[in-house]
Subunit: 231 residues, 2 copies
Amino acid sequence: MNSNPKKAVILLSGGIDSATTLAIAVRDGFEACTMSFSYGQRHSCELEAAQWIADSFHIKKRVLVTIDLRLFGGSALTSDLEVPKNRSAGEIAHGIPITYVPARNTIFLSYALGWAEVIGSHDIFIGVNSVDYSGYPDCRPEFINAFQNMANLATKEGVEGHKIAIHTPLINLSKAQIIKTGSGLGVDYASTLSCYDPSPEGFSCGECDSCQIRSKGFKEAGVEDPTRYKF
Amino acid sequence: MNSNPKKAVILLSGGIDSATTLAIAVRDGFEACTMSFSYGQRHSCELEAAQWIADSFHIKKRVLVTIDLRLFGGSALTSDLEVPKNRSAGEIAHGIPITYVPARNTIFLSYALGWAEVIGSHDIFIGVNSVDYSGYPDCRPEFINAFQNMANLATKEGVEGHKIAIHTPLINLSKAQIIKTGSGLGVDYASTLSCYDPSPEGFSCGECDSCQIRSKGFKEAGVEDPTRYKF
């Protein structure tokens, strides 16, 4: 057993993807250090979910970054724009929706990069995937590759020859495959929250794109959906 | 005269370089929109300088982003580590100093990217230069190129084919050339602050790397140094 595991920074939002990503990093022997963001999101109760998940994996090093992306808005998640509901699978699969938050993953990964450098980590995990996703440009492999390339030029660590890796273990998995993988690694999906527009009590709407993708994923995985819906 | 100029986001710290960069963007016909950061920096009075400079160029659209990079520290600018004083030119020219803030320019440019997307701008200006600088990895042209490449993959604007440009008009200028350029464009350098460790009243120490690079720049430019030093 490795008594001195390599540290990795895991972006943990509190949803299915980031929870599964954390489980994979732990399985792969990293000392997982989680970073979550309070960014003015409509669904800020996902942060409680992030805490529960971090607790369940006994994460010692965790950080909550408070930033205010409402400052510039431009998304249904960070402004008063309405979250679209009951869109068809075809509508969800097509185009970049209004829930896209400009530069969000770029900003999150930039913070992760800074923290990684300070704690001496060269590994960052992010749960993006390009199969069952919402059409966000910053979830695509070409974006991740470009970020990794930039990261290795941006930092002292990179200049000194420590290769910084952005890990995306879910990038080619369907939502069903993600759920199966996480279930096998002990992720308690009842703790996770995916909904973009939950009730104040933390119940999921069941109608936004994220709820629909989640629900379909559980069905296809043949795993019981533990989500607390408001209906 | 162009009655509907293109918007550009200008990162404005309040120092010589960003003030000159702003002047250049204005000269080049952009509607300059300034973005400044309160990030827990030791020398936060630079933010007053940023306001004075923005006032002097009649900037209408400006944003102050409050983030806390003290959260992870790792730099003399965002922790209790001491700011080095009275280093020789050789020492300043060599290596990455303790005033380097991990991923700072990456984080700043990421925010600029998000704001640019929301206000419909495809142009971001940053006053990095790779001649008279402090050895920061995120001031080098190869970093900027990699960031621009990533930015064009990160955003809706990029995906839709609007090329996002990161402008670095100072990249190949010496500090003296920067000062001469800005003087010709009406920059009031008395308003700018470069010092990493100013007194509470806003007087510059005259001894940190940034003060030394600044002072040498004014001498070489043959321009009177309007800095308020504390001695």
